[in-house]
Symmetry: C2
Subunit: 429 residues, 2 copies
């Protein structure tokens, strides 16, 4: 009986697995050097966890199930609710700031398309317990530290940074009442994906006053934070929001990634829980969805039954990233190919026992080694070694019987040496 894989999922054969591991190992390495500690939660949580703050799109895309007691569960579509739950559970025992990362497998019942699958991996970094702009800058720096490490330059990608707080101050300044902000955010979030006319029509539905709508369009066209003061009359909230955003950009400059970063008022973020600085990284060519996104979400832990603690974070999926790295030739150049260090071959079946012994010893000393199960001639064994991309073949033949020596053949150079087996093994450490 032949059963296909589930639509929207991936099978990771060894070459695809090598690529996935290379991406995830890079995420882990950069997280650690940026001072983040790894955590993880279960693959499923109680369904309610995702009905609190995840937003309508995610709720509609849940893979839900029941446990044996009939409780409603869901496979995690994001890990932030789990993070909030875990931090709340130990909130008094955890020294702050909490700098945590995770590389969870997530599932969303989306329509599969380019860069979007029903199962994917996502790098998450979060700083909890710090409301200063330093923390927002750290999140953006760590993100760029990774993207830079894998070879993307400021001509490939751009971190577009804005602030929900700034947006709220601007909208409030021009006379929009507080309860109207959320639906306007939803419209502004769509701007980059829509033709100008369609966007302006949508905006007019939410903001019928042409003067107000015009101010919003003026703001959305700005390319520097300081220019905001030129179009909106200053007030305390606006001043604070501008200072905060300038602070973030200033730290990023000092950290040496200024050339990747810029203010972009078009960045609003879809998720409902953002409260301050928000950002996305995009390919400059503009061909792909956002590579990653994040921002400040100071109310989330409170919404999950904990104390009010400041928090800021970022999520980066593996699908868009892999497409971009592939386009730039950065996968072929960097993902390691299959490689076997040693292949132990016998010139005659009488050396089988020594072959087992030498193979086991090489492995126990931390090096990879195989031998042939086929009992074929030496040339067939060497061919099998080549098929496994072997570095060196260790050949047991007459020299082994006569003097406990092996022939070590360098497969790339074609050179070989005869050496006492004990000496060969001792060299391996």
């Amino acid at each position: 009986m032949k059963i296909p894989p589930v639509k929207g999922t991936r099978d990771f054969y060894p070459p695809q697995m090598a690529c996935r591991n290379w991406i995830i190992d890079g995420w882990k390495k950069v997280s650690q050097r940026n001072g983040f500690e790894e955590y993880d939660g279960p693959i499923f949580e109680h369904l309610q966890m995702y009905q609190i703050k995840s937003g309508q799109e995610i709720v509609e895309q849940l893979f839900s199930l029941q446990d044996r007691g009939g409780r409603d569960l869901a496979i995690r579509p994001e890990i932030t609710p789990t993070l909030a739950r875990m931090v709340n559970q130990q909130v008094n025992a955890l020294p702050r700031p909490i700098k945590w990362f995770a590389v969870p497998r997530l599932c969303r019942a989306e329509r599969p398309q380019k860069g979007r699958l029903r199962e994917f991996f996502q790098w998450n970094i979060d700083i909890i317990g710090e409301d200063r702009a330093d923390a927002d800058a750290e999140i953006i720096f760590a993100t760029l530290d990774y993207l830079r490490m894998v070879g993307l330059t400021a001509t490939d990608i751009r971190a577009k940074i804005s602030s929900r707080r700034l947006l709220a101050a601007v909208l409030t300044s021009i006379g929009i009442p507080a309860e109207r902000l959320e639906p306007i955010y939803a419209v502004l979030d769509k701007k980059p994906k829509l033709p100008a006319e369609t966007f302006e029509a949508l905006l007019a539905e939410q903001v019928p006053d042409k003067g107000q709508a015009g101010k919003i369009l003026d703001f959305m066209a700005l390319d520097s934070v300081t220019a905001v003061a030129g179009i909106i009359e200053s007030n305390e909230a606006l001043g604070k929001a501008i200072d905060e955003l300038c602070g973030v950009l200033g730290v990023l400059n000092a950290m040496g990634v200024g050339e990747y970063c810029g203010f972009d008022p078009g960045i609003v973020r879809g998720l409902a829980y953002y409260t301050g600085v928000v950002f996305e990284v995009h390919d400059i060519a503009g061909e792909l969805r956002a590579i990653c996104g994040g921002g400040r979400y100071d109310n989330l832990l409170r919404d999950f039954g904990g104390p009010a603690i400041a928090a800021t974070g970022m999520g980066m999926g593996d699908c868009v990233l892999e497409i971009l790295l592939g386009q730039r030739g950065l996968l072929d150049a960097q993902v390691p190919k299959r490689r076997l260090e040693y292949f132990v071959a016998v010139a005659d079946p009488q050396f089988a026992e020594a072959m087992y012994e030498v193979t086991a010893q090489i492995r126990s000393k931390g090096h990879s080694a195989n031998f042939s199960y086929k009992r074929g001639g030496l040339s067939k064994q060497l061919k099998e070694a080549v098929g496994q991309n072997t570095g060196r073949c260790v050949i047991l033949g007459q020299e082994y019987r006569d003097a406990r020596q092996v022939v070590v053949k360098d497969m790339a150079a074609g050179t070989q040496e005869t050496v006492a087996v004990d000496q060969f093994l001792a060299r391996l450490g």
Copy 2:
């Protein structure tokens, strides 16, 4: 709103995550040095995948769900069906033998108890396309290579090895018809878990003939393969099964792990798909469930719609292993603790910009570094560094302003040196 985690799952806070990573990294390392390549599949498959061969116990414990098209899915309770599906899909393109490993997250709706959770990780190694005893021995060697590497000795654990083929030959030799074998396997599998009387009563239900039942009990009491010939009259099938098992034990001896291994006719394995050599590793104290188990399953790929290809493999969960390693003190001694390489501190806020710059540079050179968000005095910053188990503090003060020098303080030794910042950074590579 406070929502608890789902029963039978684990939250991995950084210390628990470090332990999980240490276990899984060890599995990966040993797999690679034994010549296995990593693969993985999706977290869920079509429900039918687990109704073919997984056995009743697993089918009853499935977490099942539906996709948006109403198709029945299940979270994977094991990865072998996925392996069979993936190999079958590319069966003509994959060079043999296929030596693959995986470290999947699996879910089973079991009653949570010691060593059994509803979500766990499992190391899987499989060799496909090889019917010789070499492959069975390789699986058992790799298993022991890992257990030995993490510090377990032949006084802690024992690999108990038997063979479904041998058992079938013995039962057939004493007159049990082929169609009676499967229900008898199910009874024999329970022997180690039952009092002798209960087991004998169960056996009598399946084998009412006292002469036959007595022969089976005699066989189950043997402790060497060669002794089988002493109680069962020889025939071709029995001779082949004995030779095969002796072959496996012989290779394991040659590979240097003979002291861990022994014949044990009580090993039958619960899963329905085993066809040849079977084994389990147990703690010698006998306090825990099996640490791992595996064996030959030559019909599985065919059952999943592929060609008949020989296969043998092993699965090891993380739960029992972690309990045993904890009992032996092998976790505390080996799981790495949180460690930060550098903490960049400022003697005065005027050095903040340099602090950002130096931190970023240390990180970009591959070393972990943090700074304080708190803007406190130097002693508070150093205290924060101690809290993060920092190796060295890099202090920016008057020397930096005067001569672009930093003070590098070794936190364990208490020593410090003053060095030009460029020289300090250059040393980092």
